[in-house]
């Protein structure tokens, strides 16, 4: 299997600020890739480009071999990309089950409801199918958003800070379910500031700094990379490595 996502020299500027600066990388099918980097290093902008929410100023994105730059986010979903957000963006005026049915509006088939219920049960939310999403806790909203992203059977799920601000046990549940789906072949790109969680989960880590990809490899290699340490500390490795 080839890569699900290939990014070549992505550039995105906001006014005079270059948020993503010639970032190139690829995500193999079934990969579990963690993305780290200091605040403002371009991680979220990169995710936004990878699912079509933002158009890059230049560069090429291929999803499952198809060139996608300039296409709307709905085309990215059809090509097999789905995502979650930094702050959960569940739709609060509809129930958990109804939230699950939003992504499959344009999809053919009829047993979406059954599939949605299976996925809710997958993260222990089966008793909350008829609960308005506004009444779910923050952790439950994160879980709902996670399984909602799986409704379209994506080949890659982009997750922005799935572990931020949730209870350790929810974090653990999320981690296990990500691993489970990953074993079944779904690729994940996970942006997180929780580096220990991420390095434990992902066999591959990509580090961004000032919009560039500064390191890409196994966790131990990346976290000890001088460029990564510099990105986080603002200077070279003078003493202890940060991790």
């Amino acid at each position: 299997m080839g890569p699900v996502i290939e990014a070549e020299k992505l550039v995105k500027r906001f006014g005079g600020m270059t948020a993503v600066d010639e970032a190139s990388f690829s995500v193999e099918a079934g990969a579990l890739l963690g993305v780290i980097g200091p605040n403002g290093s371009g991680k979220t902008t990169t995710l936004n480009i990878l699912n079509g929410a933002i158009r890059p100023d230049s560069g090429v994105i291929r999803v499952n071999g198809k060139e996608m730059q300039g296409k709307p986010s709905t085309a990215f979903v059809e090509a097999g990309v789905s995502r979650t957000f930094q702050n959960p963006r569940v739709f609060t005026t509809i129930t958990a089950l109804e939230n699950m049915l939003v992504p499959v509006l344009h999809s053919k088939g009829s047993n979406w409801r059954e599939k949605a219920l299976d996925l809710l049960a997958f993260v222990g939310l089966e008793d909350h199918r008829d609960t308005p999403a506004s009444e779910l806790s923050g952790g439950q909203q994160k879980l709902l958003e996670f399984v909602r992203a799986l409704m379209t059977d994506p080949s890659v799920v982009l997750m922005d800070e799935p572990f931020a601000g949730v209870h350790p046990s929810v974090k653990e549940l999320m981690r296990q379910r990500i691993l489970e789906r990953n074993r079944e072949g779904t690729a994940f790109v996970i942006v997180s500031h929780e580096i220990p969680d991420l390095t434990r989960l992902c066999p591959q880590i990509l580090c961004m700094s000032s919009g560039r990809v500064v390191a890409y490899g196994p966790p131990a290699e990346v976290t000890s990379d001088p460029l990564v340490i510099e990105a986080y500390l603002g200077h070279g490795p003078s003493g202890k490595a940060a991790s």
């Binding site: 699912n51 079509g52 929410a53 709307p72 986010s73 709905t74 979903v77 059809e78 789905s82 995502r83 957000f85 963006r89 739709f91 609060t92 005026t93 509809i94 109804e98 939230n99 049915l101 939003v102 992504p103 499959v104 509006l105 344009h106 979406w112 993260v123 222990g124 939310l125 008793d127 909350h128 008829d130 609960t131 308005p132 506004s134 009444e135 806790s137 952790g139 439950q140 909602r148 992203a149 379209t152 209870h167 350790p168 046990s169 929810v170 974090k171 653990e172 549940l173 296990q176 220990p196 969680d197 434990r200 991790s243």
Partner: protein, 353 residues
């Protein structure tokens, strides 16, 4: 890396730990599922029976109730569920009315035959409006619909084929006496009201309806999840326009004479918004309740206000619009989810600190 949690090696499924305490099934202020359908059946059933037994004055009022009901159910799809508050309801009802009058005059068609062309004319106008504006976010869309209402009026005023500023007559060639005729209009609108309510119910319970609510709350998120938001909004507008257009054709024959200023009037557009706000936006029963309250109140005020005197001075008849305006403000500030909302669970974000 100190405060790391080791994977649990116990037999307890991890979701039981994660969701302990949160597992209790949600118990909100929730009505049994049959309550809303029963209310709808009572209102529509009541109107169905009242048409046969009531006297002519009341029949005219109830005809207006049904007219508003059909248009409001249509408007509610994009305006309520989709969150695209707009003031364009008169455009579609007006297009339907003009199409009906034109076909009656030029081709001698009877009312039944004009239903479809009236609906299609409204759909055509809604497609123009939709393609031009539905890429705009809600406030800009709302403003544009006001402009478009005036534009429609100006275009019709300057089109001789549509009677220009003189307007058009729409006669019904029939043997029916005045009551028979009134009942014909009444039950035509009644049929459309039932149809509109069935459509609203189906939308409310479909993935299309969930997507509309998603758009209303967070359109960019809906888009990123794969919802083709422009096409969903356009469909909601088009379905609503078709209902408005069909109702407009009955209106044309009922009044017998239509002219641009009265047909493309912002009063109607505002009343439709008021009907949905009072009844409950984004609910399929709301427009039914709202139409009864708003129209009956409006008709009562129209009769009652001119009789009022303050210190021997009469009150201007337009005061009834003032009362409806105050009603809109009261609902917008204090009863935001309308009358249906008073009895159903609170949903959506709360502002918290």
């Amino acid at each position: 890396m100190s405060a790391e949690i080791e994977p649990t090696a116990t037999e307890t499924p991890v979701e039981d730990i994660a969701l302990a305490g949160a597992r209790a099934t949600y118990r909100g202020k929730k009505l049994p599922p049959w309550v809303m359908p029963v209310i709808a059946v009572v209102i529509l059933g009541g109107l169905g029976v009242l048409g046969l037994v009531t006297e002519m004055g009341m029949l005219t009022t109830l005809t207006s109730v049904l007219y508003y009901m059909v248009i409001a159910q249509g408007w509610n799809l994009l305006g309520g569920y989709g969150g695209y508050l707009n003031f364009g309801a008169a455009i579609f009802a007006g297009s339907g009315a003009y199409a009906a009058a034109w076909f009656a005059n030029e081709l001698g068609w009877t009312m039944w035959q004009t239903f479809l062309p009236a609906a299609l004319a409204a759909v055509a106008v809604s497609l123009v409006l939709g393609y031009a504006t539905l890429r705009l976010r809600s406030h800009y869309f709302a403003i544009f619909t006001i402009v478009f209402t005036f534009l429609a009026m100006v275009v019709v005023k300057n089109t001789p084929a549509l009677g220009g500023s003189m307007g058009l007559y729409a006669f019904l060639d029939t043997q029916l006496d005045s009551r028979g005729l009134a009942l014909l209009f009444y039950y035509s609108l009644f049929g459309f009201a039932v149809l509109a309510t069935v459509i609203a119910y189906l939308v409310d319970h479909s993935n299309f309806g969930y997507a509309l609510r998603a758009i209303s709350e967070d359109e960019p998120a809906a888009q990123v999840l794969g919802v083709k938001t422009v096409s969903v909004k356009l469909w909601a507008l088009v379905i609503g326009a078709a209902l408005g257009g069909a109702a407009g054709s009955v209106y044309a024959f009922q009044t017998g004479y239509i002219e641009p200023a009265g047909t493309f009037s912002l009063d109607l557009a505002l009343d439709i918004v008021l009907v949905c706000v009072v009844g409950g936006l984004a609910t399929w029963v709301g427009p039914l309740i709202g139409a009864v309250i708003v129209v009956v109140l409006e008709q009562w005020l129209r009769v009652f206000v001119p009789r009022l005197e303050f210190f021997g001075v009469g009150v201007p008849a337009e005061t009834n619009r003032l009362v409806l305006g105050i009603l809109l403000i009261v609902f917008a500030l204090f009863i935001r989810r309308g009358i249906v909302g008073l009895f159903t669970e609170r949903r959506g974000r709360r502002i918290t600190v």
